[in-house]
């Protein structure tokens, strides 16, 4: 492991531990200190307080716990569905490929905004904040596979025409073995790239879904909910510490990419 990877790993461990032990570091993310609204950073509130007097630092730690767990989970789900469908489409070819590709195109052309609104309208009202956050990320994971599936299908097609796979096929290797032992490991860089692209996209999507009533409900914080505060851009000039969630998001995504960086190349 390279030195940069070690540093990135340490960063990630610190962030993960801080969010896991948020209850000890900054006990309450929901308590409103109504005499300290929009307070600047202090010893008591290291990142100040929000407009309801809630400790921004505590909310960032708890929000990290929620988003760090659920955004990658949703990204994993969408990448898995994309790999399965995109990989199978290219591998099976013929009518299967046509059918799956048409399905992807159809999926991409659906008016998701209205479908999401309909989905929210059907959900029960008395759902706890934890359930609402799980539902939100599950929904994102189930909806975010179509674009990666196209890319994975294209990557798989390229791989299938590569010399080493032609040799493997000529050597009489079974189709299952070809798929799992030769194809999938070589798709790893594409899958990882799709996964890492999806993580911040899902974090931001969760923030935008809040506008439709689908996001994480009060009082549970998430990175998305914290990022929504940045809509008020003039306030950022007066309170630059509001940018802490953005900084943390960038650091976490960058560290994850460094730690899991692969030297593998897509053979052409």
């Amino acid at each position: 492991m390279k030195r940069t990877q070690v540093i990135a790993l340490i960063f990630l461990c610190v962030i993960a531990l801080a969010s896991l032990f948020a209850g000890f570091i900054a006990p309450s993310y929901s308590e409103q200190f109504r005499d300290f609204i929009s307070a600047p950073p202090s010893a008591r509130f290291p990142l100040g307080t929000d407009e309801l007097g809630r400790d921004r630092f505590a909310r960032l730690l708890y929000g990290t716990r929620v988003s760090l767990l659920l955004a990658p989970a949703a990204a994993l789900l969408s990448t898995f569905i994309a790999a399965l469908l995109g990989g199978l489409a290219a591998y099976l070819g013929g009518y299967w490929e046509k059918a799956i590709t048409t399905g992807i195109d159809l999926f991409l052309s659906l008016p998701w905004l209205f479908l999401l609104l309909a989905a929210r309208a059907m959900l029960p009202l008395n759902t706890s904040p934890v359930t609402s956050v799980i539902l939100t990320f599950l929904l994102l994971g189930c909806l975010g596979w179509a674009t990666p599936a196209r890319i994975i299908r294209a990557g798989t097609r390229t791989l299938l025409n590569s010399d080493f796979l032609i040799h493997a096929r000529a050597a009489g290797i079974s189709p299952a073995s070809l798929f799992w032992r030769h194809l999938m490991p070589n798709l790893r860089p594409i899958l990882l790239a799709q996964f890492w692209i999806s993580v911040p996209v899902f974090v931001l999507s969760e923030a935008n879904l809040g506008l439709l009533g689908l996001g994480v409900s009060e009082p549970l914080p998430s990175w998305g909910a914290l990022l929504r505060e940045l809509e008020n851009y003039t306030e950022i000039l007066h309170s630059p510490w509001m940018l802490a969630p953005v900084a943390l998001l960038v650091i976490v995504v960058a560290c994850l990419q460094v730690v899991l960086r692969t030297e593998d190349q897509i053979p052409c």
């Binding site: 309801l52 929210r120 309208a121 008395n126 409900s217 009082p219 851009y233």
Partner: protein, 542 residues
């Protein structure tokens, strides 16, 4: 030589056209947040068409938004008789529409006929439909007209504030107006341009014809941030309906350009679902039907904090359905209940609720947990809900906050009744309580907690029905106030709606604009638009 002289004339003409002069036009500019749905003054139902109606429509009587008194406009005198069924107007002589057509009593009769035509579905007509039957209008001379309704209507004269007269003879039909401005250009999604009405009848004390402004340009702009940016750059003269956050931001940069006119007539309220056929469990229906439960929630919510934190001090805790700015109709004896978790718990315990650990449970042992919905995208509502959630947690009540898109919310509260409680804003435009009939009558469609009842579900709702009908029928305004004071008292005791705050009317006004006298009633800044003037003269048009 002739060519040189011609060139000289052209150059001179261009020079004078491009140079600001003392006679050049003054223009008022502000934004509409959407396109007006109709330019027909009789079909106004949205806020943007209403703005146009106010700027272009000539009415018989006008409610002065500042003094809250009725004033004669196209009518110099009026007299209500037959117990509120009949009104006689004496019309102002020598008034012409913008196209030069004479205004006569025939136009009043024509306007009323068109307004009351069932095929037109004019929203304003409802306020004259006190009972089935025709509305009779008769000219009693060239400048005298009588309107008789099938049944008495409270504050009959004030109803004509919303009725813009249209011409019975003008070839321009509804485009011929009697107000200070007339629509000259409309680019959908871009702007509406109004020019001064050259035949406007009003003059100032010095005999100068009004309006002072030559034009009003209404830019159609949905983005509030862009609107604010343009105001900062001096491209707009007014920003209406600022939210408290924007107001505070602007007041830091331009402290002399923001206007807080005080509490508006609007309410922020919470109400519970009391519809018998709703799909809620019976034990929850029992909670929501209990006046003690509702009153306890009202007392358990810190409205002072909501006003101070969410509205940044630009709101006033409400005591009932009448804002403190409605000076005549408010029941001054009612005070907003003080925030008191102890008093709230005492009320709840009287109703059979008790604490079990951190939770409140009812007499059957059900923990008290319910959801409260509000419309997505409204930060003020989302923050208010977060504050209510914490306040109720102190009582042991678990509140689930749900934000829904507006159509889903309306569907739940008015069709499926699949909701538990809701936080909503109600917009009021009229001072008179008759405007609230559809809310307080148990049969009313806007009797939100239990709408459209065939017979009143509770004795107090029956009492409110009687009082509202009595105040609508009474002609003595003091007697009407006695009835409506009693309604306010019952509403405060039974708490079908938990009144949270009356938000302040916040605006920003350019220093270029002269003669601004902010009022509490809409339109707060340009209610006297004919007397507004700008010191900046715009010559070239975009």
């Amino acid at each position: 030589m002739l060519r040189y002289i011609a060139a000289l004339f052209v150059t001179a003409a261009l020079f004078f056209a491009a140079t600001p002069s003392a006679e050049s036009a003054g223009e008022l500019r502000f934004c509409l947040r959407g396109d007006p749905k109709s330019f027909n003054p009789l079909l106004v139902e949205d806020e943007y068409s209403e703005t146009l109606l106010y700027l272009t429509g000539g009415v018989l009587v006008r409610l002065n938004r500042y003094t809250q008194e009725l004033e004669g406009e196209l009518a110099t005198k009026w007299r209500v008789s037959e117990n509120g069924r009949r009104i006689d107007f004496e019309l102002r002589p020598n008034v012409r529409f913008s196209d030069g057509t004479q205004f006569t009593c025939e136009d009043v009769a024509y306007t009323m006929r068109r307004l009351m035509d069932p095929a037109l579905h004019a929203p304003t007509a409802d306020s004259f439909r006190s009972a089935p039957g025709p509305v009779e209008t008769k000219c009693n001379g060239p400048s005298s007209v009588m309107v008789r309704l099938p049944a008495p209507v409270a504050s009959l004269a004030a109803r004509f504030d919303q009725v813009a007269m249209i011409s019975s003879r003008s070839p321009k039909k509804e485009a011929a107006v009697l107000g200070p401005f007339m629509v000259t250009e409309y680019k959908p999604g871009v702007e509406v341009l109004l020019r001064r009405n050259p035949n406007y009848w009003k003059h100032d004390a010095n005999g100068r014809q009004l309006p002072y402004l030559d034009s009003v340009r209404l830019d159609i702009q949905q983005n509030r941030e862009l609107e604010l940016l343009r105001f900062r750059r001096g491209e707009l003269d007014i920003v209406n309906k600022l939210d408290p956050e924007m107001y505070d931001r602007l007041s830091r940069e331009m402290p002399h350009r923001v206007v807080d006119a005080g509490p508006s007539l609007d309410w922020e309220v919470v109400f519970f679902n009391q519809v018998a056929s709703s799909p809620l469990p019976e034990y929850k229906k029992a909670w929501f039907r209990s006046a003690e439960f509702r009153r306890a929630i009202w007392e358990g919510v810190n409205r002072d904090d909501i006003s101070r934190i969410v509205y940044r001090g630009h709101a006033k805790p409400a005591a009932g359905p009448v804002s403190s700015s409605n000076r005549f109709w408010i029941n001054a004896a009612l005070k907003p209940p003080a925030y008191s978790p102890d008093a709230a718990l005492a009320l709840l315990s009287r109703d059979g609720f008790h604490r079990s650990g951190d939770s409140l449970v009812d007499r059957s042992g059900h923990p008290v947990e319910f959801s409260m919905i509000t419309n997505a995208g409204n930060k003020l509502h989302e923050r208010t809900l977060a504050m209510i959630q914490q306040d109720l947690a102190k009582l042991g009540i678990h509140l689930n906050v749900v934000v829904l898109d507006f159509p889903s919310l309306i569907e739940r509260i008015s069709r499926s009744y699949n909701y538990e409680s809701v936080l909503m804003a109600f917009t009021n435009v009229d001072l008179d309580p008759s405007d609230q009939m559809n809310i307080w009558l148990s049969s009313g469609p806007n009797h939100q907690w239990n709408p459209g009842q065939k017979t009143p579900a509770t004795p107090w709702e029956a009492e409110v029905d009687k009082l509202m009908q009595a105040q609508a029928a009474a002609q003595n305004i003091q007697q009407r106030k006695v009835y409506f004071d009693k309604v306010q008292q019952i509403v405060a005791e039974k708490a079908p709606m938990l009144f949270l705050v009356n938000p302040d009317a916040l605006s920003a006004v350019s220093s270029n604009l002269k003669n601004v006298t902010p009022a509490l009633l809409r339109p707060q800044i340009y209610w006297n638009v004919e007397r507004l003037d700008t010191s900046t003269k715009y010559v070239s048009q975009r």
